[in-house]
């Protein structure tokens, strides 16, 4: 069958009334659970798993896919409005999205997140249709050494995201890696850093970590300094004024394009996904920007790039799942489980054996993205109303939602206690200028990194030469080395310049020698 034949089967499947309804339900539910912290797409898809057994396989995957990419947008809503990432892929949106909200541009940030996600979703769906099968074959060349090298590069890039110094970011990233090892070792079964506490046997949950380090820490910080906090800037009242203006669109066009391309590439790599894509897009935008100082101060590029990238990656990650049977993350692992229960074995032959499923799911993403933008853009003015609620009323509500989110993960108050402890730690980290964002991403990547490193060392019989023998891994390691050299060289050069500048100032103004230098 040719591509046109597959296309017509895909449209026939996706545009049936039942599948449009299923898609709408998935996207709506995804947006809602993305907004609610803690109750992430993994938990929701797991809860709905028994329901999908009564559906046909295509409808089941369409529903779960809708929840997944709907949650990417829902997660950005709370990131922008109250600095609580509903999803790990939305962590990076907090940085500039929340700053934009504080400066009266919450509507613009929400608008660009919605339109960026929409554009990325449409472009990626079309791209998936044509090049997905080819790219999926290339991804087969990725083995453990390539994954390990990719994650190492990702971790080094994470340190560029942070607002604090590179050294601080690296320390926090290493701490994140260390925290990811807490719990029972998956290979040997040994307990690591559990101190005999049952609550730590399964390690830290990423949702608990995010809610503690971001939401609870933010609440404590705001509770302490409320007397010093300036009144929030008034948000525009009319939807038209809230949406991105011409200048904001101009600044967002290229970040959306780049974020889409990057998200697509990282999404189709097995093991890649929305979280890595959003962080990588932020780093890329900050690196190539003529005004990197704007990032962290409410740069719209810092919202447009990552939001496009995470939606692009979320959709592209269905390709390794359907064509290779490799889930990129926990949500897709549940989707895989649903397919296996129904007797559908994802793999290279799925495209020809079940074209209605393969192409129906891809075309349904077009429908889902249209629903997402139609559903969310008119609601921006409603979402922005949230900012008018005084923080003294919002704070107790956020605490209750976080507690429900943490408790619902495992029906255990140990998770709630852990979240509170992490919240206190996050508050203290802010006090000493340590940014929790690199810690969280390193934590997410830690398990992938450890598994890939262990497998690589087994393949290489303990020798690190395995990373240099394989061209893709060697290239990625080379990129990491270059990044470290440039970073260290840049820091030394900047320090030398600063010292030279101080020296020349001191020579021209000898009286200043006795005054303290600026920090």
């Amino acid at each position: 069958m040719d591509l046109l034949g597959f296309l017509s089967i895909g449209f026939a499947t996706a545009l049936s009334w039942s599948n449009i309804l299923v898609c709408f339900a998935g996207v709506f539910l995804g947006t809602v659970i993305g907004v609610l912290p803690g109750l992430g797409p993994t938990a929701t898809v797991s809860l709905l798993l028994p329901l999908t057994f009564t559906m046909n396989p295509a409808s089941a995957v369409i529903l779960m896919a809708g929840i997944y990419y709907g949650s990417q947008y829902g997660g950005s809503l709370t990131s922008i409005l109250v600095r609580i990432p509903g999803e790990s892929a939305s962590v990076v949106t907090c940085i500039d999205g929340y700053e934009m909200a504080k400066r009266g541009r919450a509507g613009a940030a929400l608008g660009i997140a919605a339109f960026g996600s929409f554009i990325a979703g449409i472009v990626v769906t079309i791209a998936l249709f044509f090049v997905g099968p080819v790219l999926a074959r290339f991804a087969l060349r990725f083995g453990p050494p390539e994954y390990a090298a990719l994650v190492l590069l990702g971790l080094l890039l994470v340190t560029q995201v942070s607002q604090t110094s590179c050294l601080n970011s690296l320390i926090m990233a290493c701490l994140g890696l260390l925290l990811s090892t807490v719990g029972v070792d998956r290979i040997h079964g040994d307990q690591r850093f559990t101190f005999g506490l049952i609550g730590l046997f399964n390690g830290f949950n990423v949702a608990v970590l995010c809610m503690g380090l971001f939401a609870i820490a933010e609440l404590l910080t705001s509770a302490e300094g409320r007397e010093n906090t300036p009144k929030p800037v008034a948000q525009p009242r009319r939807l038209r004024e809230m949406l991105p203006n011409r200048e904001e669109w101009r600044r967002s066009t290229l970040p959306i394009t780049r974020g889409t391309a990057l998200g697509f590439l990282l999404g189709i790599l097995p093991g890649g996904g929305a979280t890595i894509a959003s962080f990588a897009a932020y780093v890329m935008e900050r690196r190539i920007s003529k005004h990197p100082e704007r990032f962290g101060q409410g740069a719209i590029e810092g919202v447009a790039g990552p939001e496009s990238a995470n939606n692009a990656a979320a959709q592209a990650s269905f390709i390794p799942l359907l064509s290779l049977g490799i889930p990129a993350n926990a949500v897709l692992a549940v989707v895989l489980a649903s397919l296996l229960v129904q007797g559908v074995l994802p793999g290279p032959t799925l495209m020809t054996k079940s074209p209605d499923l393969f192409f129906g799911v891809i075309i349904s993403m077009l429908v889902g993205n249209v629903i997402l933008v139609v559903l969310n853009v008119p609601l921006i003015s409603v979402f922005v109303l949230l900012l008018r609620v005084p923080i003294s009323i919002l704070s107790p509500l956020i605490i209750v939602f976080c507690v429900i989110g943490a408790y619902s993960l495992d029906n255990s108050s140990a998770d709630v206690l852990m979240m509170v402890g992490l919240g206190l730690a996050g508050y203290l980290m802010r006090k000493v200028d340590l940014d929790p964002a690199p810690l969280v991403l390193a934590f997410v990547l830690g398990q992938i990194f450890e598994t890939a490193l262990q497998q690589s060392l087994l393949v290489g019989r303990g020798s690190l030469g395995v990373f240099l023998d394989r061209p893709i891994a060697a290239f990625l390691i080379g990129c990491s080395v270059c990044l470290i050299v440039f970073q260290a060289g840049g820091a030394i050069l900047a320090r030398a310049r600063a010292a030279a500048g101080r020296g020349s100032r001191n020579e021209s103004q000898p009286m200043r020698r006795f005054s303290r230098p600026p920090p």
Binding site: I33, L39, T44, L47, L167, L170, I171, C174, L175, L177, L178, T181, D185, I187, H188, D190, R192, F193, I216, L219, L220, A223, E224, G225, R226, E227, N228, S392, I393, S395, P396, L397, I399, V400, V403, I404, Y407, S408, N411, S413, V416, L417, V420, G423, L424, R430, V432, D433, L434, G446, E450, L453, Q454, L457, L458, R461, R516, P517, P518, P519
Partner: protein
């Protein structure tokens, strides 16, 4: 102004991380770095902890050698300190009482402390806030999303 902008603050924070790294190295070594021809459970934590120790040492050396400006006093209102203390107490109590008292009673208590004592909201705001929160969370989480709320072990014991 953060604590980090003083030499002592910087040294203390990095010193704490350094100590965490050393402790983790000791525990990782006990777990084993290599076991029967394959990487042991301690290898990855050892590498991460070693990196923490090395980076924290560099940071402490840089902080010790750097010239620091005199730190202006941080202004935190007494009411801010009181509020944050109440938040911390309420959060810890909420986590500890969630299962013995059940979700509804523990939430009511936590909201009461936070909104009335910490935020000093009026009763006419506090009562609808608590009632609305309980109603909304029950409807959305318990009824629609099927999230399990603890009913409270204490009540069963008390009522026999």
């Amino acid at each position: 102004m953060t604590v980090q902008s003083t030499r002592l603050g910087r040294l203390c924070s990095l010193g704490l991380l350094w100590a965490v790294g050393i402790l983790a190295i000791a525990m990782a070594l006990r777990l084993g770095l290599w076991r029967s021809g394959s990487p042991g459970p301690g290898l990855f934590p050892f590498l991460a902890a070693l990196a923490i120790v090395v980076l924290a040492t560099i940071g402490m050396m840089a902080a010790a050698l750097r010239r620091w400006p005199a730190a202006p006093a941080e202004t935190i209102h007494a009411r801010g300190r009181w509020r944050i203390a109440l938040y911390v107490v309420a959060l810890i109590a909420y986590a500890l009482l969630l299962e013995p008292l059940g979700f509804h009673a523990a939430t009511t208590l936590a909201l009461l402390v936070i909104s009335r004592a910490a935020e000093r909201l009026r009763w006419r705001t506090v009562v609808p806030l608590i009632a609305g929160t309980l109603f909304f969370t029950h409807l959305v989480f318990a009824r629609w999303l099927g999230v399990y709320f603890p009913a409270g072990t204490l009540w069963g014991d008390l009522l026999g």
